[in-house]
């Protein structure tokens, strides 16, 4: 049976059998995969502390080529991101990010850009005091990775420059000029400031993300616009998003 070596992030884990876990990884070389970690719920297992959510590791696993579930042989932590779990809000945000990826990516569909983005985002969420902005940047970049990069240069209907933006079309994923605007629920109002933030989120270097700020008063508009854009592509409700929203209403 072949042995596979790769780097991977733990997306989620669930208990299985008496003391095992099934781990969903996003790997550098093979995309999303599932592995069984035998005995990993026992304190004595060398695997137990290493397979917490969001951990970035080097893993060795084995199994037949066309298998759905492989078996972990060993793993070594590259970075643990354990601080995310010290705060419920950070945990909620990262859980939502992980659920987005788990929902939108098929198994064995590698995407190194996504892995790079994910590591930068986890590291920012551990350190940043403005984790909502970090999440918004992730959502913009994630849409773009899925092939739905927001079209913000010209009107998506007539291709003419838009001087005064009034609407964003969620299905076409781009801005609509005054002349092309139709009154449907898929065309939502959007402010100039919100568009600028999204534009910057698309192009900013990952190492500079921490410097980007959402202008005051635009938080809700941007959050709803991005969530609606993603919802159309996901086609189902995500548990972790609903909890995130209920946190919002709890704290305000």
């Amino acid at each position: 049976m072949p042995l596979y070596h790769t780097a991977a992030v733990v997306l989620r884990r669930r208990n299985f059998g008496e003391a095992d876990r099934i781990i969903t990884f996003f790997t550098h070389d093979f995309g999303k995969i599932k592995c069984i970690a035998k005995g990993s719920r026992r304190f004595k297992s060398k695997l137990s502390g290493n397979l917490e959510p969001f951990t970035f590791l080097r893993i060795i696993y084995f199994g037949k080529e066309n298998q759905n579930i492989y078996q972990i042989n060993s793993c070594d932590i590259i970075r643990s991101f354990h601080k995310i779990g010290e705060d419920y809000k950070r945990l909620s945000i990262c859980s939502y990010i992980v659920e987005l990826i788990d929902t939108m990516f098929k198994e064995k569909d590698p995407n190194r850009e996504l892995l790079g983005l994910l590591l930068s985002i986890f590291s920012l969420i551990e350190e940043s005091s403005d984790v909502d902005t970090v999440l918004r940047i992730f959502e913009v970049r994630f849409l773009s990775l899925l092939g739905y990069k927001p079209a913000l240069d010209v009107c998506v209907r007539c291709n003419r420059p838009v001087d005064r933006v009034i609407r964003f079309n969620l299905i076409k994923g781009g801005i609509i000029c005054k002349n092309c605007f139709r009154n449907t629920r898929h065309e939502i109002e959007i402010s100039r400031g919100a568009l600028n933030f999204i534009k910057k989120s698309l192009t900013i270097d990952l190492s500079m993300m921490g410097r980007l700020k959402i202008p005051k008063g635009l938080e809700k508009g941007i959050r709803e616009m991005l969530h609606s854009s993603l919802s159309i592509r996901i086609g189902k409700r995500l548990k972790s998003y609903e909890l995130l929203i209920s946190n919002h209403s709890r704290n305000s």
Partner: protein
């Protein structure tokens, strides 16, 4: 393998138990087949009894034969300490050590956004109530030492600190009988964070 219908029904039920695979289920089924009728009836009755008499303790949420449970109904325990745990089986594990004399509060789960479990799904209001009216001096948070358990511990700690109660978290460190060089990185790191004076 071919089995008579009643035997395969029994195997089908046994295989649903945690940690029981097809092979083990077959072994158990044949053990029951060979046992005396009396033995088989005792087993069947025990299963029915446990479902019939078991209830949830209205004070600590644990499962017990009575309400309040044996522990909550015992006035000799230490009234000033409360140990917060995820599930009733954690209570049984701690009781087995014989080293803890306070009371318990079972959260009935752990914060886990990926599974859709948030603060409203846990018995947190009940915990706050008990701290406020029972004169608790120390709350020991004994959720599992993993990401969800830690997040839950921090969340509860932030929530109850204003109640002027001492909040502690069970120590995380190296398992007894192990070698340092084989410890995983996170456990080793946590054992440094949780070091104590000797």
């Amino acid at each position: 393998m071919y089995h008579p219908k009643s035997v395969s029904t029994l195997i089908g039920e046994l295989v649903k138990l945690p940690g029981v695979g097809q092979k083990t289920a077959e072994r158990l089924a044949f053990f029951i087949l060979k046992a005396s009728k009396n033995e088989a009836e005792k087993l069947a009755r025990a299963i029915l009894d446990v479902k019939g008499t078991i209830r949830q303790c209205s004070i600590c949420n644990s499962i017990a034969d009575s309400d309040p449970c044996e522990i909550c109904g015992n006035p000799k325990r230490d009234k000033t300490t409360l140990c917060v745990i995820e599930e009733p089986h954690d209570l049984f594990a701690i009781e087995k050590t014989g080293g803890y004399r306070g009371y318990y509060h079972v959260l009935m789960g752990v914060l886990s956004p990926l599974d859709g479990v948030g603060p409203d799904d846990l018995s947190i209001d009940g915990l706050v109530n008990r701290i406020e009216k029972d004169g608790i001096k120390e709350v020991i948070i004994a959720t599992n030492p993993n990401m969800e358990g830690d997040a839950t511990a921090m969340y509860i700690s932030n929530l109850i600190k204003p109640l002027e109660v001492k909040v502690t978290r069970i120590a995380r460190g190296l398992p007894m009988g192990g070698d340092l060089e084989y410890a995983d990185e996170v456990t080793l790191m946590k054992s440094f964070e949780g070091r104590m004076e000797i």
